[in-house]
């Protein structure tokens, strides 16, 4: 894959819930190794956009391309076909996702959460998956919590396990859906630190967040959304310190 081609490309993506248009012809692209932060008021469509990227929400129209392949559909000769759930599952392995509410599997320990998909989906050897799982726990600073169940962990620790669980599938891109919004303020820092480290390691990331300092420091590209459209996008320093649109200005003014 040439470096000029974006890893993720979103073209004219629209989505409505009933009569409410949540996304209106969104275009965006994410380059390999880039960190893209999506900010905006609640209800602006930023989470829906993220969930359309891996087809958790099915867009009404428009296409997401991952490495040039359309997500959720495939060419069969000259006919475009909807993917079966299992074909989609194979495609989704390339896009890790971290949720606001962690969604760890409560009946499995931290380590079991991490090795589940590598063993069941990728059919990796158990010993190999466990070794890699422990290395990932090390990376998020939770090696000694490997055998704890999610409810024995704090919110910040659960979210770090959830990040490790996604990384275990070696995804090409990581999607974060407000990863720190459900956390107590003093636990936000530990999760953001892990995400900063990931960004430094060169992981391609798309992050929906309210953490403006994270967006300013880490993002290569900042997108401001409101009312289902991208109002403003660019390098975070430009968008944050010199917003062009009144809606961006109003949103940023409320945060400061």
């Amino acid at each position: 894959m040439s470096t000029t081609m974006p890893l993720l490309n979103v073209e004219r993506l629209s989505k409505s819930f009933g009569t409410h248009q949540v996304l209106n012809k969104i275009d965006m692209s994410v380059k390999l190794g880039d960190v893209t932060c999506i900010v905006g008021p609640s209800g602006s469509g930023k989470s829906t956009l993220l969930r359309c990227l891996n087809y958790l929400e099915v867009p009404d129209s428009g296409v997401v391309f991952l490495d040039g392949d359309p997500v959720g559909m495939r060419w069969h000769g000259n006919t475009l076909r909807q993917m079966s759930f299992n074909e989609l599952a194979a495609q989704r392995q390339r896009m890790g996702m971290v949720f606001q509410s962690f969604n760890l599997f409560p009946h499995k320990t931290a380590l079991e959460n991490i090795v589940e998909a590598p063993i069941i989906v990728q059919r990796r050897k158990k010993s190999e998956a466990v070794a890699e799982g422990m290395a990932l726990l090390d990376k998020v600073g939770l090696r000694e919590r490997a055998h704890y169940y999610p409810r024995q962990l704090s919110g910040g620790q659960q979210q770090r396990v959830a990040i490790a669980r996604s990384l275990a599938m070696k995804p090409a891109v990581m999607l974060f859906d407000e990863p720190t919004s459900a956390l107590d303020p003093e636990l936000v820092g530990e999760v953001l630190a892990v995400m900063r480290q990931l960004a430094e390691d060169g992981m391609t990331m798309v992050v929906v967040t309210h953490e403006m300092s994270f967006a300013r420091d880490v993002a290569d590209h900042l997108i401001f959304m409101d009312g289902g459209v991208i109002v403003e996008a660019g390098p975070p320093k430009d968008v944050l310190s010199n917003p062009q649109h009144t809606r961006t200005k109003a949103f940023l003014a409320r945060l400061l």
Binding site: L56, N86, A89, R92, G96, N103, F105, A117, I120
Partner: protein, 312 residues
């Protein structure tokens, strides 16, 4: 102070050094005494009433005929529960499927088998040969590969299993459906983003969590099933009750043999209740439910070994 003048407090102990005398409950004692009197009278009735014939109860309690009936009752309970639960899981999944044909078929099954009394079903299944004389397996509208007469397939035992298991399947389906629906949608989304297929998600993520929720109602149903098996006496299947009936039809010792059956039903339902409590307790402890755990809990109850583990 004025109060000090009215009643001198010098004789009282320091309030910080003494505890208030506990409240007395005379009504507890009166009510308790009255009820105890009735209990004593009832026990006296049980001991002194000669029609009860405790000697005959003791004589038949462990008789081979009764024990064989006991074995059949247990076998019937567990076979019907296992088949009922297996069908129930399938029905629950069909009910939650997006396919309207599956949904409707599952709904109709549950509607029918929950609506028809098990006793009616037992008699119906037993007389199935009147409706369908022969069964055959073959290509539809084509050649026949295998066939048998219904009379040879429907024995009292198979009719009993059918009737009880199908009734249970309808109840189990609703329980399991509720259990599956109680699992947060975030769990299936997380599994989907990890690339799991639908069946992997169901087997590895959803069902293990749903099982934990439905264990208490399943335990309850097992105890109900134990008692429902006594209905099979109408099919002349020698279960616990029918074995007792066969004996008293020979000996005319009706009451003592009914007591024998009652004692065994109570013993079995007590054991089942203990097992259920134990499993529930373990689940509340938070440890995951594993087969080895259930087996070890069974083992401990039977042999009364004390629990030594300390929960984390």
């Amino acid at each position: 102070m004025a109060q000090d003048l009215k009643s001198p407090t010098s004789a009282r102990p320091d309030i910080h050094e003494t505890k208030p005398r506990p409240l007395r409950h005379p009504s507890w004692w009166i009510g308790g005494a009255a009820l105890s009197l009735f209990v004593v009278l009832f026990i006296r009735l049980l001991v002194t009433n000669e029609n009860l014939h405790w000697d005959i109860v003791a004589q038949y309690l462990f008789s081979p005929e009764i024990l064989a009936g006991l074995g059949r009752t247990l076998l019937l309970t567990f076979v019907a529960m296992i088949i009922g639960l297996a069908i129930g899981v399938v029905l629950a999944i069909m009910r939650l499927s997006k396919n309207p044909v599956f949904q409707t078929a599952s709904w109709a099954w549950i509607w029918f088998f929950r609506g028809v009394p098990p006793l009616v079903q037992l008699i119906f299944w037993y007389n199935l040969a009147l409706l369908i004389p022969t069964v055959s397996i073959g290509v539809p509208f084509g050649p026949e590969l295998w066939s048998a007469s219904m009379n040879s397939l429907i024995t009292p035992f198979s009719a009993a299993v059918l009737g009880l298991a199908l009734t249970e399947s309808a109840y189990a389906a609703e329980m399991i459906r509720a259990g599956i629906q109680a699992i947060n949608v975030g769990q299936t989304e997380a599994a989907a983003t990890l690339g799991m297929t639908r069946s992997q998600t169901l087997r590895r993520i959803v069902l293990p969590q749903a099982l934990k929720i439905v264990i208490p109602p399943i335990g309850n149903d097992t105890i109900s099933m134990l008692k429902f098996t006594s209905l099979v006496s109408v099919l002349a299947l020698p279960d616990l009750l029918y074995s007792a009936q066969m004996i008293y039809s020979r000996t005319y010792q009706t009451i003592p043999l009914l007591i024998v059956a009652t004692i065994w039903y109570l013993v079995l339902s007590t054991i089942l209740t203990l097992i259920e409590h134990y499993i529930e307790h373990r689940l509340n402890d938070g440890r995951p439910l594993e087969l080895s755990l259930i087996l070890s809990s069974l083992f401990r109850i039977k042999f009364g070994a004390p629990r030594t583990e300390v929960s984390k």
